[in-house]
């Protein structure tokens, strides 16, 4: 079955360089993946709003792939988990499957369960595979200590996704280790990055990411490697925001946040406590393949304006530490 790229909305808007890097890596490795154009959103944000819309959106993507005799390939964990879940519902629930196929009839589409969705990690593990990959990589990342972050929807619910063990996953670690890097065990490895709450409850969202950053630092990781561009975005955003906060508290940058100082009671002693950079896995592999850093978009996340402190009036939420 041929493969077709499925673009992610959040990644396209904010971290498009991660998708470009995926294309570069795939081309360099000689894996044949077509570019998909007519797909729609995977439906992830609609699961809690309109369940039928959610099913229909992913159902249409799967049907489009099926029409072309292809499997979807996504770089994003959320798109992957969402499409997997819809695939499973469509396979087991006849009424839902009828509903979707009826709605798609007008376009001449139908989903009969022939196409599926694959995460790019799965694709790379199957072809070229770990031994071939090791031969291709220049292993310049030797000794780099990497904290691997799978992302919730890549692992759970395991009976639907079936990517790896939900308790001690290792497939992504294998891929990262192929670059010559060392994966470190870290306590927060399986936790959520907090991205789904951005814009809804920023405080909690950043707190979750901060806990992960601190945990990675405690595990002496040089960087966090994420299997999902949204998590990558969340970590980098939080890191930048915390750095700004830290510096403003210590009056390194602007005096305008001076009065926030007492409220924030930062739980870290120095920037080093949370300052762990993140990379999307395609960027890490791209580096190991000897691709240009600029082309991979490393260091590309730049927030044009400084982020405000995440903790607004009300102080640091309890249990922050």
């Amino acid at each position: 079955m041929s493969l077709v790229f499925f673009p992610c909305c959040v990644a396209s808007a904010f971290v498009d360089h991660a998708q470009i890097a995926a294309r570069l890596v795939v081309d360099k490795l000689g894996v044949q993946i077509e570019d998909g154009t007519e797909f729609n959103c995977c439906g992830y944000p609609y699961k809690g709003i309109d369940f039928q819309a959610f099913i229909l959106l992913s159902g249409r993507n799967l049907a489009l792939a099926e029409k072309n005799g292809a499997d979807l390939v996504t770089t994003c964990g959320c798109c992957y988990g969402t499409t997997k879940q819809v695939e499973s519902i469509l396979k087991h629930d006849v009424s839902m499957s009828d509903y979707v196929n009826n709605a798609l009839k007008r376009e001449g589409l139908a989903y009969k369960g022939k196409s599926t969705v694959k995460h790019l990690i799965e694709v790379l593990l199957a072809n070229p595979g770990i031994p071939n990959l090791k031969a291709r990589l220049d292993r310049s990342q030797r000794g780099l200590r990497v904290a691997t972050h799978y992302g919730c929807k890549l692992l759970r619910p395991s009976d639907v996704v079936g990517f790896d063990s939900p308790f001690s996953p290792s497939r992504f670690d294998q891929l990262v280790e192929a670059t010559g890097a060392v994966t470190v065990p870290w306590s927060e490895k399986l936790e959520c990055c907090g991205a789904p709450l951005i814009g809804i409850n920023d405080t909690t969202s950043q707190l979750l990411a901060k806990k992960k950053l601190e945990s990675a630092r405690q595990a002496k990781a040089d960087l966090i490697c994420t299997a999902c561009p949204c998590c990558y975005l969340q970590f980098e955003r939080t890191r930048e925001s915390l750095t700004f906060e830290y510096e403003s508290v210590h009056q390194v940058v602007l005096p305008r946040f001076k009065f926030e100082r007492t409220k924030m009671a930062l739980s870290f002693d120095s920037v080093r406590d949370f300052n762990v950079p993140s990379l999307a896995y395609v960027q890490l592999i791209g580096l190991a393949l000897g691709l240009d850093e600029g082309a991979l978009g490393i260091g590309a996340i730049k927030f044009t304006t400084a982020l405000r402190p995440c903790h607004q009036a009300g102080g640091m939420p309890a249990g922050a530490h």
Binding site: P7, C9, V10, S12, A13, D16, E38, F39, N40, C41, Y44, P45, Y46, K47, G48, I49, D50, F51, Q52, A53, L56, L57, R60, I89, M96, Y99, A103, R106, C152, K153, R156, P157, S158, E191, C192, G194, A195, P196, L197, I198, G199, I200, N201, D202, T204, S205, L208, C230, L233, R237, F303, T304, T305, A306, L307, R308, P317, A318, G319, A320
Partner: protein, 588 residues
């Protein structure tokens, strides 16, 4: 001369219309920022002046040649549209210059200009065919090829197409009637072939009937070779200097052949002048109406493309950004490329709100920008469509005119937040975009949509708090709504072992979780079992859930806890949205 006066009047209307339109760019506003008209005009003038003397001028030049003249953006996203665009634009422009203004412009360039001589005779038809092919493709794509991804055709599209088609058809009809007209032939012969006798005029007429498509009731074919030979001599003496063979006007000639059987009845001053005045008045109407039609993009698109080549949200003057956004509303040609590439357009088929489609939403926004009091219902509908957008940026990337649609949506979203109508779609990861752009939002407005939405839901289910004493089967079936996928029984297995609560990352971010979150995950499940809907739907836990699936994964009883939370959100959001909509309609 009244005809010239009419031309000047329509030109005047056109200019006044353009001036009015330009003034709206500075008067109308979007978003929360307030600027005076004066400050916006000054900011625009200063910005343009500074750009003119900076290195950015080279960027502008490049954009001008590549994107404005060559329309590279359009070629990249829609090659067929590009071809159609240039067939119509090129053909019509050349007709305007060589035909409408031909009498004034051509003599400046060509020494021997007669509209009936080649190459003018041929070129006019050639350009006409270009326009016709372009219009044909446009009409075919709109009305015959039923493409589900194309946005609906608006009145503006129909007006523009109809005006072009009317100009072209009336022109061709006039020309072909003239070709067949024997009275026109005789008038010309009387005027130019003055020295000829009746017999030579007769053979000249025969020659023209044979070769120039004139339809004469008096003459019958076949003509004798001598008569034609004599006609040819007379023709070469009197007519040939000014008349290339009519066949060169291939389209007019072709149509004239089709109307041959009825040509005699069409031969009269009445028909010709009617056709002429139709052609003339439609042209003038098109000119006067131009600033208010979609053809106005002739002016707005280049400005928009050039402005976007050098403007940047983080660097440009906010006053100029606002002016640009209003200008962008005028620059939209309703080509539908955004809708074709929209990652949400598909959902329009199950949620019949045209504002889901970016191209249609932009059309609704014109009303909002003009500062007219938008009806509550319209605000509601626009907000609903707008908030379904995933902000994937595709529309902005593909827009051939370079409209920064994503920033436009952002401004409008904030404008609508200010109106205070709760919208429940914000309680989903669709809010990520807004959260990422927190810095561009007034800090006092930032959290308002979320709190409004939560309050609306809490109010909605407040009523189920009162004890009823009577068994109500509807209460039983809140979760069993169609399309929810999970039923009331989903949590039947829960025996409150608290595994979910212990696994929940949200619980762990709080020092006093049960006080902060209202309900812990296991309590939430229990409340669902007990059908305490007011407690369930107003609890913070329900709306703070990340959807990380840890609870569901770890549950020893296999309760799909996370999916149940999503199902509960579905119920709350659909019911509350419906009632908000009903209530606002009732208050009108």
């Amino acid at each position: 001369m009244p005809k010239a006066a009419l031309v000047y009047i329509s030109l005047l209307i056109c200019c006044a219309g353009i001036a009015y339109k330009v003034s709206t760019w500075f008067r109308y506003s979007l978003g929360s920022a307030k600027f005076t008209v004066q400050s916006r005009v000054f900011a625009a003038a200063r910005g343009m002046w500074q750009t003119l003397w900076s290195r950015q001028f080279l960027t502008i030049l490049k954009a001008f040649f590549l994107n404005v003249l060559f329309q590279a953006r359009l070629l990249r996203v829609a090659p067929l549209k590009w071809a159609t665009h240039f067939l119509i634009l090129g053909g019509f422009m050349m007709l305007l210059l060589m035909h409408a203004l031909g009498r004034y412009l051509n003599p400046l360039i060509f020494s021997n200009y007669y509209s009936t001589l080649n190459p003018f005779l041929f070129l006019r038809n050639f350009f006409g065919v270009m326009v016709f092919i372009g219009l044909g493709i446009a009409l075919f794509n709109r009305f015959i090829r039923r493409d589900p991804a194309r946005p609906p055709t608006s009145f503006m599209d129909i007006y523009a197409l109809a005006i072009f088609a009317a100009i072209m058809v009336s022109g061709i009809a006039l020309e072909s009637v003239k070709i067949t007209s024997v009275s026109v032939f005789r008038e010309m012969a009387d005027e130019y072939a003055t020295g000829e006798d009746q017999a030579s005029l007769k053979s000249l007429e025969a020659y023209w009937v044979e070769n120039y498509g004139v339809v004469s009731p008096g003459l019958a074919r076949p003509f004798g070779p001598e008569s034609l030979a004599e006609g040819k001599v007379v023709h070469s003496v009197n007519c040939a200097q000014c008349h290339s063979p009519a066949r060169w006007a291939f389209m007019d000639y072709g149509v004239s052949r089709l109307i041959t059987p009825v040509a005699v009845y069409l031969d009269g001053d009445g028909v010709r002048s009617t056709l002429y005045y139709i052609h003339f008045f439609v042209c003038l109407f098109g000119l006067a109406y131009l600033p208010f039609s979609k053809v106005f993009h002739l002016f707005t698109c280049p400005i928009c493309l050039l402005a976007n080549a050098v403007m940047d949200r983080s660097l440009s003057n906010p006053a100029n950004l606002m002016t640009k956004q209003i200008l962008e509303l005028d620059a939209c040609t309703h080509c539908g490329v955004c809708t074709r590439n929209c990652s949400m357009a598909f959902i329009h088929r199950i949620i019949p709100n045209a504002n889901i489609l970016p191209s249609e939403r932009l059309a609704s926004l014109k009303l909002l920008a003009s500062g007219q009091e938008l009806s509550v219902r319209d605000s509601l509908v626009i907000q609903d469509g707008l908030n379904l957008c995933t902000n994937c940026k595709q529309c902005t990337l593909v827009c051939p005119v370079g409209i920064n649609l994503q920033d436009l949506w952002f401004s409008v979203r904030e404008t609508l937040v200010g109106r205070g109508i709760p919208n429940l779609l914000v309680l989903s990861p669709l809010s990520i975009y807004r959260g990422m752009r927190k810095d561009d939002i007034e800090i006092t407005c930032y959290s308002r949509p979320i709190s409004q939405a939560r309050k609306a839901i809490a109010d909605e289910f407040e009523s189920s708090r009162q004890s009823k004493g009577v068994y109500e089967p509807e209460e039983e079936r809140v979760l069993d709504a169609p399309g929810i996928h999970l039923g009331q029984n989903a949590c039947a297995g829960c025996f409150m072992c608290m595994t979910c609560t212990n696994a929940c990352p949200i619980v762990r971010t709080h020092e006093h979780p049960s006080a902060d979150l209202d309900l812990l995950p296991h309590q939430l499940m229990q409340a669902v079992k007990l059908r305490l809907w007011d407690v369930v739907f107003s609890s913070k836990m329900l709306w703070e859930c990340l959807g990380c699936y840890k609870c569901q994964e770890f549950c020893p009883m296999g309760v799909p806890a996370t999916d149940l939370i999503f199902a509960l959100r579905n119920v709350a959001i659909s019911r509350t949205s419906r009632n908000i909509f009903q209530k606002t309609l009732e208050t009108l």
